[in-house]
Symmetry: D2
Subunit: 106 residues, 4 copies
């Protein structure tokens, strides 16, 4: 596992989560999407934070990736419950990023 | 207008917006709150960004405060439409921060 | 330990670190301050991140506070090595925030 | 000019600035690099902020890109003064991002 691979996974996950967040806020059943909205945003934030920590060679990068893995897992699990294309796609990308970050952290 | 006064206004606005965001996601009429949720989060982000720019004496602090003023105004206008206590309180704090940031920017 | 107390500690630490960062970049012996500059910025970032996570009732707030405690400790230890007033003041505030975040995380 | 193109430019600029920031802090002539360090970090921050604003379809994306263009221009101009490879490469990427963001903003 290289930093480059993990940075790439985090930036893709950030983009998918931001897109899913914005799309969820426009869904008719927005009430059902509340937890998805919340987690999309948390996940985008920590993915961006982790990517930048790795880009700057922070000595805390692995610790941050460990938290990032947990948020990605939770966000992926929530997204997987919803049938919208943006949620299904986000779930897949989040779960991939969770695995990559977990490898980086260990 | 001093940096300290504007930093204080931005940090109070960040807190009010984050609280309103979290509360809106738990409201029963969450569909009606979609725009409030979106703007609360944008406003919290730019307020935190502006506060840190001022704390670091960024030469771009005034430009950032100018954008912050516009986001605060939009967020305050949206919050003011909703009767929830957290929205009414947030509206007031956002409008105050919009004024303070506009003064700083000019 | 309440969220409010920990948020307050994080925001004070963010401000002290941003001020120390900006001041270090203007010191004559900037080469000696490189690690202080780096850690000040990392510490300000994670403190702001942790404060916002608590303000939004993130379920990951404690995990983020745990990382924040480690960054604050490292930053406080580095700042304590330097005699500049901004470093000594920052060291004290970082060590306080490290303790508060550690309590929150446990 | 599409959002995708501008997001891509911002994320590449964020990475180049974070890399240059970290490399500058390890240079022997760190005192000469103080302004470069400061601007690299500001530029990485606003580029990440702008990219996420576009990814979320923020109505303030263009305003944020306008500020981003100014920071990228200043950072590129500073980096161009230094002969280190990471500075020269960063200058080029910053100036490209400044142009792309200016197009987006107008």
């Amino acid at each position: 596992m290289t930093y480059d691979e993990c940075i790439q996974a985090c930036l893709e996950c950030m983009e998918a989560c931001n897109h899913c967040y914005s799309a969820c806020l426009q869904e008719q059943d927005v009430a059902m999407m509340a937890e998805c909205i919340r987690l999309d945003r948390e996940c985008a934030d920590i993915c961006g934070f982790a990517a930048q920590a790795m880009q700057r060679n922070s000595r805390f990068a692995k610790e941050i990736c460990n938290v990032c893995a947990h948020v990605c897992q939770a966000c992926g699990d929530e997204c997987a419950k919803h049938e919208h294309d943006h949620c299904q796609r986000c779930a897949e990308i989040c779960h991939h990023c969770a695995n990559v970050c977990q490898d980086m952290a260990s």
